[in-house]
Symmetry: C2
Subunit: 581 residues, 2 copies
């Protein structure tokens, strides 16, 4: 196998040979910035998933290296992400208690299973499956998941326990009833963190630039909001002893040392129980990852290979499962940071991984006093970006069916849960598509002036012939719309008792399946009985090939196939009335 | 409400007022012939369903009357049918023992539930759902079900017990291993019955006609095969005492008297358990019924209202559940007999019902010595018609995807069972449709001579402009094909680095959903970066309306929408190269 061919499966061979000092400088800076962002985010998402904070760090080492070796995106930053963490929490929350050994083992097994599924799909070249999630469904899903995730942070922000629920109203009602238990110090820390994060997000880079700081430096500092929030609140808790005096929940002891080697449990009953959720985690994770990878690649004219991405993410997740981690994928905001900070190759990710490894080896004592409220604030600010009203507004104006599937997915996620919610949304969008194609638009057409153009009689001033009815069928003909087609055409013929010819204009018919073919034959027979001849015009090449294979035209009796509508009009208008036996 | 409106829900009001003597004569003859056919068939199908033979007769009285009052078909003959009986057997066989009281109660409940589902679907006007079963799926299902049904008769034909299995090979292997237990007398009766049935089916009518007997009489006698087989074999068993001397299994005691009034059990756990099967029985039954009703109605220029059919079949099944019956539907061969024997109104069915009522009241002693082998032979001959190789042959020539879904459904029914088999087939045919539409055909087109016609450059001798690439997209654009569309178009543009304009010809695009709209915007941006302007031509009215609502064209930059491909070619060819910033 040549390097070129091998490069298809090992994209690293494409970029490593020419790797130089300037690329290393760029990647180094990006890798550092992402590491600084990833340490608190990784811990925060692990808490969201119901796991100890170090699991989020473990999931940010080996998976990044594996993705770096195999991924086709140059700038994707892999690691724990919010939605996947939420899905892990809801899956495992149903089978065992958060904090138990079984819970951790379940997370490792989920990583392994979704990794295996991704890898299998990649080898089977099933990347196209992700196309069956429509944009409105993804938008509704993301918005609802963001709300569920955000409200799950309420207990950390307020400092008292609120039972986990995906019903936002329950969470809010519980919080309101127990508001007397508010830990004011925790709440103050949360609010401070939120203010720091929002300031850095919206103002700091702009302010620095206005003071003459270079754009690159200003942007880099602008990304340091989470680091700054962590720094300020950790120091406050430490110096003021707020964990003891005020009961502020902190991260506390994180075991120092590299991630443990873990083996996913092969308990068959558990595998069977987790498999559907693992498949959904794999699909949703792949979707998030491949969308961000594609949008970044297109900015630099690079290509993403969806099947290679499946393989790389599969390997990353299997890597996570071998090193005490949990399911990972390419994160949206993190990858954007990586990209804008200058990452030019996956080396940036490998550098991030090395820095996180150093953190878990040496720096965990520094995180002892980090308040959980700060991590919760980081999550809230991160997921706020996922709430997407723009797509709803546009879909509402453009196409009510898309808006309906967006809203239905949103409501389903909030009412029946994230996993069933997205399945429901996907099924609904497919059902709406089938419904639409099962009732094709049909237009009676006439000739525009003395041209060769034929248009809808209802929309244009056109000429028609009383003996010839011309109907354009605006849909491919397949089993779900054959009955509708037959009913509609017979009704139109009944409305025009004077006609001798019905011409079906097939310019928009891209295929005719066997069910529809049978229906067309029946239709021709029934029209023949009613002394009307069925003709076709503008049949496409591939459709005509199929009809010729079964000698369909011979079964039409006097019916013909015309190259153009114009030709049909000319021939049938001048023709004497065809006598039908 | 006027009679006309009421007539929509009570079709009997359409025909009863003008009902006269000649109609009664026609209907009376048809009703008699169907009754003669239905007595042995009803008992045979009840045995197939694992029920006592009288249940098949009970299901042939009240349901026929209810359908007669409500149905929109003039010639449909409702009652027990083979496939539905098989589905009842497989459903109940999984939860209880054939012959137990629970089994009978389960059959009554299945009739009630499928009746309620049909009625509900009719009131909700969901008749269109049946269109989602494609012809090839139905054909594969019927052929496989016929095999399962036929082989289930082997035990009656051979006279020794063979455990029920839907794996034909198991049934055959068991029969072969135990062939020593063959009851030769039973086997002789079976073969005799088969010979009588086949002779009547193929020869008798022809022979009578050649002897100068009137066609109508000859045809009527030709339908009497089952009656003749019953007569000959019953008399043989009776006179020779074969039930005692040779152990020939007979129908034996059938309780005399009208059907008992029954109440379907409302045991919630059982309802839940039977509901999915009841829904499938309802769908399959409705499908069989409405196909035969439609094909008969079209022969006489009558209309079938699918939703009214749902209501009528729903009432018929609820009627069956109230009178000790089991699920019924309109049968194919029986309806054809009814039609050809001259039925002009549902009065024929009501007459059949009255004759069956007389049979269960008075004539059951005559059926005491009827051998089960004869009933099995009647089933085998009836289901042999369901084996349909013609559709497979045609689909194979016409469209391999249709052939594949036929074969897959056939194999699925034989390997995973009738119910899951048809669900699998339906899902597969929808998946194949989605797969096909997710990879649209695209053709680069050029101008045919000096005409205004544009055709595929690969199929026709055409002129093109090196600066203008014209691509016709042969599919509506929706979420599942947007990624493919984008990849394909970008690849084609990359193959033609010299072009300035890409024109998408939209004559075959019947709608563009929100996901595709977003993709077109991204595509326009990316093409703009590559110094190519994106244009559209021949956008359909309804599609253009949507694009205008969101001012899509304004976002195209220099891109335009042309009325025709010809106009696009003319304008862009003469235009100077558009400068892109």
């Amino acid at each position: 196998m040549s390097t070129r061919n091998l490069g298809r499966y090992l994209p690293i061979l494409d970029w490593l040979p020419g790797y130089g000092r300037s690329a290393l400088a760029s990647d180094g800076m990006a890798g550092l910035i992402v590491a600084i962002m990833l340490v608190p985010q990784g811990m925060a998402y692990a808490l969201l998933a119901g796991l100890p904070p170090e699991v989020g760090l473990y999931a940010s080492i080996v998976p990044l290296v594996f993705y770096g070796l195999l991924g086709s995106s140059r700038a994707l930053a892999v690691g724990p992400v919010a939605i996947v963490s939420l899905m892990v929490a809801t899956t495992l929350g149903e089978i065992t208690e958060a904090g138990s050994a079984g819970y951790l083992a379940g997370a490792v097994l989920l990583a392994f299973l979704s990794g295996a599924i991704l890898l299998g799909m990649g080898l089977a070249r099933l990347g196209f499956l992700v196309n069956f999630l429509s944009h409105p469904v993804i938008s509704g899903f993301s918005s609802a998941a963001a709300l569920v995730i955000g409200f799950a942070q309420l207990k950390h922000l307020l400092g008292f326990d609120i039972p986990r629920s995906h019903h936002i109203t329950e969470t809010l009602a519980h919080a309101a009833r127990h508001i007397g238990e508010l830990n004011q110090v925790t709440f103050t820390i949360a609010v401070t963190s939120l203010i720091i994060l929002l300031l850095f997000k919206s103002r700091v880079a702009l302010a620095l630039k206005s003071f003459g700081v270079g754009a690159a430096t200003a942007d880099a500092v602008g990304k340091a909001g989470p680091l700054m929030a962590v720094l300020v609140t950790t120091l406050a808790v430490w110096f003021l002893g707020l964990d003891r005096s005020a009961g502020v929940a902190i991260v506390a002891d994180i075991p120092a040392g590299l991630p443990p080697l873990t083996m996913p449990s092969l308990d068959l009953a558990l595998v069977q129980q987790l498999l559907p959720a693992a498949a959904l985690i794999a699909m949703v994770g792949f979707l998030e990852s491949v969308s961000v990878a594609k949008s970044l690649a297109s900015k630099r004219r690079q290509k993403i290979d969806a099947n290679q991405e499946l393989i790389a993410l599969g390997a990353a997740n299997i890597g996570a499962s071998m090193t005490g981690g949990y399911p990972v994928t390419g994160g949206f905001s993190r990858s954007l940071v990586n990209f804008t900070a200058g990452a030019v190759t996956p080396m940036a990710s490998i550098i991030t991984a090395a820095l996180i490894a150093v953190t878990v080896l040496l720096l965990t004592p520094l995180l002892y006093f980090l308040p959980k409220a700060t991590l919760a604030a980081i999550i809230v600010v991160a997921v706020a970006n996922l709430i997407d009203l723009k797509t709803l507004r546009e879909a509402w104006v453009y196409n009510k069916a898309d808006a309906a599937s967006l809203v239905a997915t949103f409501v389903a996620v909030l009412s029946i849960g994230v996993e069933l919610g997205i399945v429901f949304g996907a099924a609904l969008s497919i059902a709406l598509y089938l419904w639409r194609t099962s009732r094709p638009h049909m237009a009676e057409v006439g000739r525009v002036g003395q041209t060769e153009h034929f248009r809808n009689v209802l929309r244009h001033e056109v000429q028609t012939d009383p003996k010839v009815l011309m109907v354009r069928v605006d849909e491919s003909l397949y089993f779900a719309n054959t009955a509708y087609l037959e009913d509609q055409l017979l009704a139109r013929v009944a409305d025009h008792p004077e006609i001798d010819h019905l011409v079906l204009i097939m310019s928009a018919v891209n295929f005719i399946d066997a069910s529809a073919l049978e229906t067309l034959e029946t239709l021709a027979d029934r029209l023949h009985d009613a002394r009307v001849t069925l003709h076709f015009a503008e049949v496409k090449g591939p459709v005509m090939d199929g009809l010729e294979r079964v000698a369909f035209i011979n079964r039409l009796g006097n019916g013909r196939v015309f190259l153009s509508t114009h030709e049909a009009m000319r021939e049938l208008t001048s023709a004497p009335r065809v006598q039908v036996a």
